[in-house]
């Protein structure tokens, strides 16, 4: 069974701090995605990484896919209250019809 483990589960920081969220697996994925979910809404896709070692930047967010395509990280620089939410990683493998989901990291950025 393929699993994606996210850490930390909860994170509460002050505005302006940096943070990193991790998404780890023992399985290889053909692609990995990060989503952000705000309370009362559905998850929203942030980025897809597909190549081992790939780094993508989205403003203050930096996403990296591990060289072996088994893990990924999300780094936020100078966090802002608007970054508050649940961050989910999801991996695609096999016939690519289904995603494997991590349980998420709940981030609170305090003003």
């Amino acid at each position: 069974t393929q699993l994606l483990e996210q850490s930390p589960q909860f994170l509460s920081i002050q505005e302006g701090e940096n943070l990193t969220v991790y998404c780890n697996s023992s399985s290889v994925f053909s692609s990995l995605q990060w989503y952000r979910q705000e309370p009362g809404e559905g998850p929203v896709l942030l980025v897809t990484v597909v190549t081992g070692g790939e780094v993508k930047k989205l403003k203050r967010l930096t996403f990296q896919f591990g060289d072996a395509r088994k893990d990924s990280s999300l780094h936020i620089t100078a966090a802002q209250p608007g970054d508050t939410g649940l961050y989910l990683c999801a991996g695609s493998a096999g016939n690519n019809r289904k995603l494997i989901w991590g349980l998420g990291t709940s981030l609170a950025v305090n003003p």
């Binding site: 053909s30 692609s31 995605q33 009362g40 809404e41 559905g42 998850p43 929203v44 896709l45 897809t48 597909v50 989910l88 999801a90 695609s92 690519n96 019809r97 289904k98 995603l99 989901w101 991590g102 349980l103 998420g104």
Partner: protein
């Protein structure tokens, strides 16, 4: 905006009653998904569809059935609702133009309470 709507947005029902949730999309995507989201369990796949009348089970399909008689609508039915099915239900589509990557876009969710 992937043009996904879910109805109803909120529902309270009693144990043993049938419940149907509807997901509607406007952009002719082939793949549609039903998830439930619960604290401590994350997003769990119930059923998905890869075309009209083509469906398959997810990891938590017991107690649920689905139907897709036309491309734009994917229905989720709880035949006899139980309290354990109290949850937030999300519908998602797979972006057809997204290439080989299963990039999904979600509806706003339905909050279901079974008393």
């Amino acid at each position: 905006d992937a043009g996904i709507t879910q109805s109803p947005r909120h529902k309270v029902t009693e144990t043993g009653t049938p419940v149907t949730l509807r997901c509607h999309q406007t952009e002719n995507h082939r793949y549609m998904y039903w998830y439930r989201q619960d604290p401590g369990h994350g997003l769990r796949l119930i059923h998905y569809s890869y075309g009209v009348k083509d469906t398959d089970k997810g990891e938590v399909s017991d107690g649920y059935s689905v139907s897709r008689s036309k491309t734009e609508d994917f229905l989720l039915t709880l035949e006899s609702a139980t309290s354990s099915q109290t949850s937030v239900y999300f519908c998602a589509i797979r972006e057809s133009s997204g290439g080989p990557y299963n990039e999904q876009f979600f509806g706003p969710g339905t909050r279901l309470t079974v008393l």
